[in-house]
């Protein structure tokens, strides 16, 4: 199956959903682990305490890919994450994360053909407020459909 066929079959629908509670300690610990020093991100007593912008990238769903997605994981590696922040994530928030495949495309490089799969997680808070969008790229090397 080539990239266009995969894209037509697997994009455009939510294939996984998770719920989690966000506590102050996890926000502060993650910020400190990232080297953040701004008390807005590291001190739960700060009046504007909130998650660092990349906090949602630490959250994973229960599935990396939709069921029956034909990927050869032994040839895959992480091709990076990007996050778009829509609203602050704060301590006490109840987050819902919904996973979908946003894009599938091919490119060629020194090592030959590659398949890129963009796993998108949209995060929502109370009242269905859109908090963040995280795009995680997975690349499969030696893709020769």
């Amino acid at each position: 199956m080539n990239a266009a066929d995969l894209k037509a079959r697997f994009t455009g629908s939510v294939f996984d959903e998770i719920n989690l509670d966000v506590d102050a300690a996890s926000l502060a610990d993650f910020a400190l682990a990232c080297g953040e020093t701004d008390p807005r991100y590291t001190d739960p007593s700060h009046p504007d305490f909130q998650a660092v912008p990349n906090y949602p990238t630490r959250i994973h769903g229960t599935r990396q890919l939709p069921k029956d997605f034909p990927v050869e994981m032994q040839r895959c590696f992480d091709a990076g994450k990007s996050v778009v922040v829509h609203a602050p994530v704060r301590a006490g928030e109840k987050i819902t994360g919904k996973s979908e495949i946003a894009d599938i495309y091919e490119k060629t490089g020194r090592s030959g053909g590659m398949l890129f799969i963009v796993h998108r997680m949209n995060f929502y808070g109370r009242g269905n407020v859109h908090l963040a969008t995280v795009d995680w790229r997975l690349v499969q090397r030696e893709f020769n459909p």
Binding site: Y105, E106, K107, T108, G109, R110, S111, G112, G113, F116, R137
Partner: protein, 214 residues
């Protein structure tokens, strides 16, 4: 006039540089470039307008494309609606002969880039698949090349009589201007670049920055 003819911004999936940051870097490091061309992967950006940045930084900022063929990657300068409709820029299996033909028909110029690079460079495929008519210019100085790749490209260019351009292939800010193309005289706009490439009065060059930290 010196232009970096091969660069990528965040519009490319693997680009990490904002166009404004390229401009700031060139200014801060006093890199002797007159401008650069954004050659985004497998697409052409019709929307973006960089005239304000051009005025602010005194740089020429042009738009082009880097498409993929069975002979490797190809820069296309002078993309217009006709050319955009002629083949699918997003595909990785375009035919080089078609890209060259359509570019010429639509008033554009197609230039195989990093030809010495394995898998995605012209030279290796030239040996295994055979020559392709219509190649006139190749990128012999690519800022992302590994040892020997630019040298291989140069040997092919000399042997085949192809003219030479250079570009940084920058994906991050600090790589802009690593390689470039020196043109005789000056021009404005993409039509000027296409005409200058057609004239043949240019060559690949390395750009020396006066800033020792650059």
């Amino acid at each position: 006039m010196i232009l970096d003819l091969h660069s990528h911004s965040i519009a490319s999936d693997d680009g990490r540089a904002k166009v404004e940051n390229y401009c700031q870097w060139i200014a801060r490091r006093a890199i002797p470039l007159d401008g650069f061309v954004l050659t985004e992967h497998r697409q052409y950006d019709f929307q973006s307008d960089y005239r304000a940045l051009e005025d602010r930084f005194g740089l020429l900022i042009l738009k082009a494309s880097e498409v993929e063929t069975e002979y490797g990657h190809v820069l296309v300068f002078g993309v217009n609606e006709d050319l955009r409709a002629a083949f699918d820029f997003a595909r990785v299996d375009n035919r080089l002969a078609d890209v060259l033909l359509h570019a010429r028909r639509c008033g554009a110029v197609a230039v195989p880039c990093h030809p010495g690079r394995p898998k995605v460079g012209l030279c290796a495929h030239w040996e295994t698949r055979g020559p392709v008519a219509g190649v006139e210019i190749v990128e012999t100085l690519n800022g992302g090349s590994r040892e020997g790749e630019n040298e291989l490209a140069l040997r092919y260019a000399d042997a085949q009589g192809w003219r030479r351009i250079g570009g940084s292939d920058s994906h991050i800010v600090s790589h802009i201007g690593r390689c470039a193309t020196r043109f005789e005289g000056s021009f404005q706009g993409i039509d000027g670049l296409v005409a200058a490439l057609a004239s043949g009065r240019f060559d690949a060059c390395r750009v020396a920055s006066p800033d020792p930290l650059a």
